[in-house]
C-alpha cells in the first residue's frame, strides 16, 4: 500500500511553545488511521498545518503525489483533503441545511440531488429535524454532528477528523464508527484524532502516538496497546484495566 498522506519533520512553534517538533506521520491509502497523544501533544496543530490553517516552520506535507506544504485551505480541499475541527467551526448564521449545501456546492450536480444527499446525511447523524434552524442554535454535540455530516457531504478522498466522538452520545458514537467503516470499505481514507480509546482501537488499523510534537510509535492497535512507552506516557493504567474485557 502507498501512503496517500505523509508528513516529514514538521516543526511549529507558538512563541516559546514547540507545538510540533519533527512530527512525521504516514497514512496509507484506503485505511483508517488513528492519531493519539496526551493533551497538548500537537495533534490539532498537525491537522492545522496539513490543511493549511497554520504554517509549518519546517518540514513537508506530501499528499497524493504532490507537496502541499503550507498550501491554502481551498487548495488543500481541492487536492482532496477535508477535515473537521475539534472546536467545531460551523456557519452559525446559515441554517443547518445551508451549512450542508456550502460543503456540497463544489460538485456539479443537480440541485435536488445535492439537497437529497444533504438531508440523508443529516438524517444519518440524527439532526434532520433541525435542517431549517440556524446552525448557531445547535448544541455542542449537534454541532459536532453537523460538522461531521458536512464533511461527509463534501466528500473528499481523505478525511481528517479531530475528535469526532467528543460530546456525542454513546449510541451515536457506534453509529459513526459504523459509518466510517462503511465509507472506508468504499475506498475513503481517514485519519482520526480521538481520546476515546475504545473508538480508536476498534476502528483504526494503524495508530500513531504523538508526544510533545513528535511521533513516538506507530503501528497496529495491539502493538500500541502493549507498548511500554505509550503506556507510561499516555494510556496509563486505563487500558490495562480494560484489557481483561477483551
Amino acid at each position: 500500500m502507498t501512503a496517500v498522506l505523509r508528513t516529514e519533520g514538521i516543526k511549529k512553534a507558538y512563541g516559546g511553545v514547540q507545538a510540533l517538533n519533527g512530527a512525521g506521520i504516514s497514512v496509507d491509502e484506503g485505511t483508517i488511521a488513528g492519531l493519539i497523544g496526551p493533551n497538548g501533544s500537537g495533534k490539532t496543530t498537525l491537522f492545522n498545518v496539513i490543511t493549511g490553517y497554520d504554517r509549518a516552520d519546517e518540514g513537508q506535507v506530501h499528499f497524493a503525489g504532490q507537496v502541499i506544504t503550507n498550501a491554502a485551505p481551498d487548495k488543500v480541499f481541492a487536492a482532496g483533503l477535508g477535515r473537521t475541527f475539534q472546536l467545531t467551526r460551523i456557519f452559525p448564521r446559515l441554517t443547518v441545511l445551508e451549512n450542508m449545501l456550502v460543503a456540497a456546492q463544489h460538485k456539479r450536480q443537480q440541485r435536488h440531488t445535492v439537497r437529497q444527499r444533504a438531508m440523508d446525511l443529516l438524517e444519518f447523524v440524527g439532526i434532520d429535524r433541525h435542517a431549517g434552524l440556524l446552525a448557531g442554535s445547535l448544541s455542542y454535540g449537534q454541532r459536532k454532528l453537523l460538522e461531521l455530516a458536512y464533511v461527509l457531504v463534501a466528500d473528499p478522498a481523505v478525511i481528517l477528523l479531530d475528535e469526532p466522538a467528543g460530546g456525542v452520545n454513546p449510541t451515536l458514537i457506534n453509529l459513526i464508527a459504523d459509518r466510517i467503516r462503511e465509507l472506508n470499505s468504499q475506498g475513503k481514507t481517514f485519519l482520526i484524532v480521538e481520546h476515546n480509546m475504545e473508538f480508536v482501537m476498534g476502528l483504526c488499523s494503524t495508530i500513531t502516538v504523538l508526544e510533545s510534537g513528535a511521533a513516538v510509535v506507530s503501528g497496529p492497535p495491539e502493538m500500541i496497546r502493549s507498548d511500554k512507552r505509550v503506556l507510561d506516557a499516555y494510556l496509563g493504567a486505563d487500558l490495562e484495566e480494560e484489557e481483561p474485557d477483551e
Partner: protein, 373 residues
C-alpha cells in the same frame, strides 16, 4: 429559505400593491419638490441594495462605495464632454459607467479584499480619499473643484423629474431583483458562508477571493451606473458631491436601520433616511448642515444600541413573539427565539465595525466642508 410563514399569495399581492404604488407616485404627486424626493430616494434604494449585495452578504463593510458612485458620475461627464454626446443619447453611455465601475472594483478589490474586518474598512476609506483627491487635482480631466456639468437634456422642465423617477425605479427594481437572485443562488450562499467563517468556507472548497471579488464588482458596477443617473439628474458633479464622505455613512446607516443583510432592510432604510435627510436640509434651522449631521450620528447610535439587527428582523421577531404570546413555541419559532441570542451577538459583533467606522467619521465630515448634499 425564508423563515417567514406568510403564504406566497399574500406576499405576491403585497408586491403588486407596492409596485403599483411606486408606479403611480409621480402621477399622484406632481409637485416637483415631491417627485425630487422620490427620485433621490429610489437612487439610494438602488445604492443601498447594491451595497448590501456585497457588504450585507459577505460581512465586509465597505465605506468606499462613493468611489463607484462618483466614478460613474465622472465617467459619464467626461465621456459626454470629450465625445460631445448630447440629449437622450447620453443614456447609451450607461454601459460605460458599468464597465468603469467594474474595472475600478477589480483593482480596488484585489487590494482591499486581502484584508478583513477593520483593516478592510480603513482601506476602503483610504481609497475613497484617493479618488476624492484625484477628482480635485486632475483638473484637465475632472474640472477640478468646479466639477463637471452634465449634458443638456432638452426635456420640458414641467415634468422633468418624471422620466428620471421611472429610470431610477427601474434601476431600483432591477437591483432588488439581482439581490434576490444572489440571495437564492449558490454564489449567495458562498458569500454568506464567507461572512460567517471565511477560512472554514475555504476549507470546504469555496474560492473566497473569487467569490468576494465577483460580489464587489457586481455591486460596484451597479453603484457606478446609478451614480451616472444621479449626475444627469442633478446636472453636475463636484469632488465633494460625487465623492461625498457622508455618502457611505448614509448607505451603511440605511442598511443597518432597515436590516443589514436582508433584502427589504436596505430598501426600507433608504426610503426612510434619504427623504429624512433631504427634508432636514431644507429646514432653515438646520441649514449649515451641522445639525443634520449631528442628528444622523444620533440616529446611528440609536440603531446600534436599540435595533442592532435593524427594523425588519427585529420587527419580525416582535410579530413572532406577539403571535406566540410567550407560549412555548413550536419548532420553527423556537428557532427564531433560540437564535435571537446568538444572532444578536453576531449582529452586535458586526455592528461593532460600523461603530468603529463612525469613530473615523469626524475628520471625514469636516473634509466635506459641511452638508455637501
Amino acid at each position: 429559505m425564508t423563515r417567514d410563514s406568510r403564504p406566497w399569495l399574500v406576499r405576491a399581492f403585497l408586491l403588486v400593491l407596492l409596485v403599483a404604488a411606486a408606479v403611480a407616485f409621480p402621477k399622484v404627486f406632481t409637485n416637483p419638490a415631491v417627485t425630487n424626493y422620490g427620485v433621490l430616494a429610489l437612487i439610494f434604494v438602488t445604492v443601498a441594495s447594491a451595497w448590501n449585495i456585497f457588504s450585507g452578504n459577505s460581512g465586509y463593510i465597505s465605506l468606499g462605495h462613493a468611489v463607484f458612485f462618483g466614478s460613474g458620475a465622472y465617467a459619464m461627464g467626461i465621456a459626454a464632454r470629450d465625445w460631445n454626446v448630447q440629449g437622450t443619447t447620453v443614456f447609451a453611455l450607461l454601459p460605460l459607467a458599468a464597465v468603469v465601475g467594474a474595472v475600478i472594483a477589480v483593482v480596488f478589490g484585489l487590494i482591499a479584499l486581502r484584508v478583513r474586518r477593520h483593516t478592510f474598512i480603513v482601506i476602503t476609506i483610504a481609497v475613497f480619499f484617493i479618488f476624492q483627491l484625484a477628482a480635485f487635482n486632475l483638473r484637465s480631466l475632472t474640472g477640478g473643484s468646479a466639477g463637471l456639468n452634465s449634458p443638456f437634456l432638452n426635456w420640458p422642465s414641467s415634468g422633468y423629474n418624471t422620466p428620471f423617477y421611472y429610470i431610477a425605479l427601474a434601476f431600483a427594481g432591477a437591483t432588488i431583483a439581482i439581490a434576490v437572485a444572489v440571495r437564492r443562488s449558490r454564489f449567495g450562499l458562498q458569500l454568506r458562508a464567507i461572512r460567517d467563517d471565511e477560512d472554514r468556507a475555504r476549507g470546504l472548497g469555496v474560492r473566497a477571493m473569487r467569490v468576494k471579488l465577483t460580489a464587489f464588482v457586481l455591486s460596484g458596477a451597479i453603484t457606478a451606473m446609478i451614480g451616472s443617473i444621479w449626475f444627469y439628474y442633478i446636472n453636475q458633479v463636484e469632488p465633494q458631491t460625487g465623492f461625498d464622505p457622508l455618502f457611505d455613512l448614509l448607505v451603511v446607516l440605511m442598511a443597518f436601520l432597515g436590516g443589514y443583510g436582508s433584502i427589504t432592510g436596505p430598501v426600507l432604510g433608504a426610503l426612510i433616511i434619504e427623504p429624512g435627510t433631504l427634508w432636514l436640509n431644507t429646514q432653515p434651522q438646520f441649514s449649515g448642515g451641522y445639525l443634520s449631521e449631528i442628528l444622523l450620528g444620533a440616529v446611528f447610535l440609536v440603531i446600534v444600541l436599540f435595533v442592532p439587527r435593524g427594523i425588519v428582523p427585529t420587527g419580525g421577531e416582535w410579530i413572532t413573539r406577539l403571535r406566540t404570546r410567550g407560549r412555548p413555541a413550536v419548532v420553527p419559532v423556537a428557532a427564531g427565539a433560540a437564535t435571537a441570542g446568538s444572532a444578536g451577538g453576531a449582529a452586535a459583533a458586526s455592528a461593532a465595525s460600523p461603530a468603529g467606522a463612525t469613530a473615523d467619521a469626524p475628520p471625514a465630515s469636516r473634509a466635506s466642508k459641511g452638508g455637501a448634499r
